[in-house]
């Protein structure tokens, strides 16, 4: 029998403990190997999702400014307001919470309680809440009620130039007007912050992986609009429409020498700060830019300018007016007050608004008859000289190019083209008409109509918009002067409630345009009244284009509805905006 040895027992115990310790360590090593090597990616991602946060730094939207006389003032700004929400799951006492909302925000208690009954975790109960209101509400310390900050556009001048400005929708995208056309410039570029953060989300500065790209704020935009002129144009338009018993209309005031739009008004209008409440989306549209229509007799000075520039007639040319011209199966007739049959000059064509005269001018372009040569020559002037049928490129959403019929394709081309010579069978916007008159009256340069005078970057760099010439030699300087004289003659021969001083040159032309019916042909007894003219000293300074839709007063829409409005606006400019006086 082997004797019992104390030494051997001790050694065995040591070995057991040693084995146990090794085993424990082995378990640790295996577990760590599993966690750190095999599940490395999973735990790395989990840790990063907790610690590594990505934030978008919103870019501040650019401010829109306009002229107020010599000053430039903001007319669209940003304001921090709050959206109040509730989490119905966290609200215990719904009546108490609704009372607190009514007390601080106003509104309907039942509506708040209904929102709190919803089966969701997020219900918006109020928007555009001021900081003071938000703080008063949160002071109640009610669980389940919170507020989120949001930047909103605010309009200190109310609805002034609403359609020109447009608005910014809830997603931060500019809609209509300048906001849409210059959305990219105004919006800027959001920045980003990727950083390891503490438990409160505060970025830890020591992390090597932090990425901070600051937001680039949107550019401020300075408009060519003068708010005083705009305000008065809007008021006069509203009064003029009421006088003419019309529901809608537009006014454009353009600087003849560079294409800058000084005022652009539409009625009816809306409050861009409350665009959500507008039921009819047509109100958002800037009709002076987007609404192409048959403009009527305001086209006749353009036809005369083209014929004079082509040298197919002279300023002292005359023709015998039989009060009607037969073209193929159709007949072109004059209005009743055409002065009777007889010999008429080009100035008479404009003064008496002779459709036969405009047709005669077109016939001269074809060598004395209505033919392809004349149609193509007139088409060339309409599209390439006066740029009808093409967008002007003004900084506005939804601009319409208008339409000009083809001179060679289609049926009834001669009568169609006869109609275009007096502003029917083709369409143009009031802005296009103003720009074409500006080109005729400033000596023959077609400047792109524009609303933006300059943009200013966040670092203060100013970028001025240089007047862009879209067409040169639209007409010769001589023709320009001849047309100016004829338009002044028209104003002299027409009655205005308040006569114009001889110190200024004022000219223009009425238009009473038939309205195309959706079912074909033209509407019976409904017309649009138009007027395009100018005020200035030796040369035209401001071009004024006026549209009165479907006036309900008796008489010709052009002379009874649009002409008085033109007169009011011309006087407003002379009285308030330092129109240069004549020197000769």
């Amino acid at each position: 029998m082997k004797p019992f040895s104390v030494q051997s027992v001790s050694v065995r115990r040591i070995h057991v403990w040693y084995a146990l310790i090794v085993l424990v360590f082995a378990v640790f090593v295996v577990r760590l190997f599993y966690l750190q090597i095999i599940r490395h990616d999973h735990y790395k991602a989990a840790a990063q999702s907790d610690q590594y946060k990505e934030y978008e730094i919103p870019a501040s939207r650019g401010v829109i400014k306009a002229h107020d006389g010599e000053r430039v003032i903001p007319i669209v700004l940003n304001q921090e307001l709050f959206t109040v929400y509730v989490d119905p799951q966290l609200i215990k006492d719904k009546a108490k919470a609704a009372d607190a909302l009514v007390k601080t925000l106003g509104g309907d208690k039942a509506a708040y309680e209904a929102a709190m009954q919803q089966d969701s975790r997020y219900e918006v109960v109020a928007k555009k809440v001021t900081r003071e209101q938000k703080e008063a509400l949160l002071n109640h310390k009610l669980p389940g009620i919170g507020a989120q900050s949001q930047e909103y556009r605010t309009y200190p001048q109310g609805s002034l130039a609403a359609q020109v400005l447009g608005f910014v929708d809830d997603s931060g995208t500019g809609r209509y007007g300048i906001e849409q056309a210059l959305n990219k410039k105004l919006a800027g570029k959001p920045g980003e912050l990727k950083a390891v953060t503490d438990i409160n989300g505060v970025p830890l500065a020591a992390s090597e992986d932090n990425i901070r790209r600051p937001a680039i704020p949107g550019k401020d935009v300075i408009l060519t609009i003068d708010i005083g002129m705009q305000k008065q144009a809007e008021q006069l338009l509203k009064q003029g429409l009421e006088r003419a018993r019309s529901d809608s209309g537009s006014v454009v005031i353009l600087d003849a020498k560079n294409g800058a739009v000084k005022a652009m008004a539409n009625y009816p209008t809306y409050d861009p700060a409350a665009y959500q409440q507008v039921e009819n989306a047509d109100l958002f549209v800037n009709n002076a830019v987007a609404g192409a229509l048959e403009v009527g007799s305001v086209m006749k000075p353009i036809t005369a300018a083209a014929a004079l520039d082509m040298k197919v007639v002279r300023p002292d040319s005359t023709f015998y007016d039989a009060r009607q011209i037969k073209i193929d199966d159709a007949t072109v007739r004059n209005i009743e007050e055409d002065g009777g049959a007889g010999t008429k000059s080009i100035a008479d064509i404009l003064n008496l608004s002779l459709n036969t005269g405009a047709t005669w001018l077109l016939m001269q372009m074809g060598g004395g008859e209505l033919n392809r040569q004349g149609r193509e020559a007139w088409y060339n002037y309409m599209t390439n000289h006066f740029r009808f049928g093409k967008e002007t490129g003004i900084e506005q959403g939804y601009e319409s190019p208008g339409t000009v019929p083809s001179p060679t394709e289609g049926y009834g081309l001669n009568i169609t083209y006869a109609n275009t010579s007096f502003g029917q069978a083709m369409t143009a916007t009031m802005l296009q008409m103003a720009a074409a008159y500006a080109a005729v009256l400033n000596g023959g340069t077609y400047y792109q109509p524009h609303l933006v005078e300059a943009t200013i970057s966040s670092d203060g760099t100013r970028e001025d918009t240089k007047p862009k010439v879209l067409a040169k030699n639209v007409v010769s300087p001589e023709v320009s002067k001849q047309i100016q004289g004829m338009l002044e003659y028209v104003v002299d021969k027409h009655h205005f409630a308040r006569q114009f001083s001889d110190a200024y040159s004022v000219g223009g032309k009425t238009g009473t345009a038939q309205i195309a019916s959706p079912s074909g042909g033209y509407l019976e007894n409904e017309y649009n009244g138009t007027y395009v003219g100018f005020v200035g000293g030796d040369s035209a300074e401001y071009i004024i284009a006026v549209l009165v839709n479907k006036p309900k007063i008796p008489g010709y829409a052009g002379s009874r509805a649009a002409q008085p409005l033109f007169g009011d606006i011309a006087h407003m400019l002379i009285d308030n905006f330092n129109v240069t006086t004549k020197t000769r």
């Binding site: 903001p74 304001q79 900081r131 200190p156 708010i227 005083g228």
Partner: protein, 115 residues
């Protein structure tokens, strides 16, 4: 005899033997591998501590930066709100409806100065 007493006896034997030996003291003092290791560990700990101090300090600056950024944002909001209030006070409608404007009399121009 226990295991410990047996070990003690064997050490005693060597101690007696060493009494007759000549001892040499080396003048070239060198740190042993253990000392080196310990020193390196202490140095590494010190460097780690220094690194942690710096990281903590830097992160503390992060909080200051965050606080200043919040202040900057608040000031910008305040500035924007004041700008809005100023623009509203100068709006055409407000000026038009103000008491001094209500007392103004409209005058039509009676003459034109010709240059």
């Amino acid at each position: 005899m226990t295991y410990s007493s047996s070990m003690a006896m064997s050490r005693q034997r060597y101690a007696v033997r060493n009494q007759n030996s000549v001892s040499f003291r080396s003048t070239d003092r060198r740190l042993g591998p253990i000392t080196n290791t310990v020193a390196l560990i202490i140095l590494a700990c010190l460097l780690g501590l220094l690194y942690l101090t710096q990281v903590t300090k830097t992160n503390a600056f992060g909080y200051s930066i965050d606080r200043l950024e919040q202040q900057q944002t608040q000031l910008k909001i305040e500035h924007d709100n004041l700008e809005v209030a100023s623009a509203r006070l100068q709006s055409l409608d407000r000026v038009q409806n103000s008491a001094p404007a209500q007392n103004l009399v409209s005058v039509a121009p009676s003459a034109v100065v010709q240059n």
